[in-house]
Symmetry: C2
Subunit: 141 residues, 2 copies
């Protein structure tokens, strides 16, 4: 299900539980990465890259990474896991949110018994000028 208008793009990807059926070919890895749906190219986003993600139980990111210019926000939706920044680990679950500055070295994993559903958003650090309220314009009708 997809709809495109002058000012919007709408896609219905279906339940997050099914995200592990989607695979992604990371250009720096030999194998396909299951459970990751990127949104930028699908929706024509110009300010952020976003991915919807599912890790089956007992899955670890195969590497740590940092960023050149983008900060990231991780929002955990379901399940249990652990997240690490600069060597410090903490537990994550539904409602856990983590901002990581570009230079933070991050990795994460699902628990051995529970899958992990999460969203990752990245945008260029320092670019937000007006926040929600200042940038918004109410429209009558």
């Amino acid at each position: 299900m997809k709809k495109i208008g002058d000012n919007f793009s709408f896609i219905d990807f279906g339940p997050f539980e099914k995200m592990d059926q989607i695979s992604f070919k990371h250009p720096k890895l030999t194998e396909e990465v299951p459970g990751k749906q990127f949104l930028k190219d699908e929706l024509g986003l110009t300010s952020m890259e976003v991915s919807l993600n599912k890790f089956l139980a007992g899955t670890s990111m195969p590497f740590s990474h940092k960023h050149r210019e983008n900060e990231e926000l991780y929002i955990f939706l379901k399940g249990k896991g652990e997240f690490c920044v600069d060597g410090e680990w903490f537990e994550v679950q539904e409602g856990s949110v983590i901002k990581v500055a570009p230079n933070g070295v991050r990795t994460w994993r699902s628990s051995s018994s529970e899958e992990l559903l999460y969203i990752v958003i990245q945008a260029k650090a320092g670019t937000l000028e007006g926040s929600s309220i200042q940038d918004g314009i109410p429209v009558k009708g």
Copy 2:
């Protein structure tokens, strides 16, 4: 639960179901808005404003709005509702994602029988330079 490091901020807000217990005072409205937790100031985000949201069944946004410079992404997590851009309505549910350009006039509502959980992200249109893969740097260890 909150942890702050040199390169990260971590908060655990708990289950999304409880978001309606959080209220937000919109400076342009007289009454408090329930069910909205903004993240930018809480986490020190510099590239995006993000909110975690819960609409009880039968709730409508009290106005339409557009933006000056920021594009928005809506990610629906649970429940049923309807979303409108520029007068065109469509149904939303878990896995529905909608990008709205700054000039799109948007509003939304939950269905009369089901609550609606969703995330809203806004960032300045046109600011993303390198996407996920180009901006990321794998780190050994």
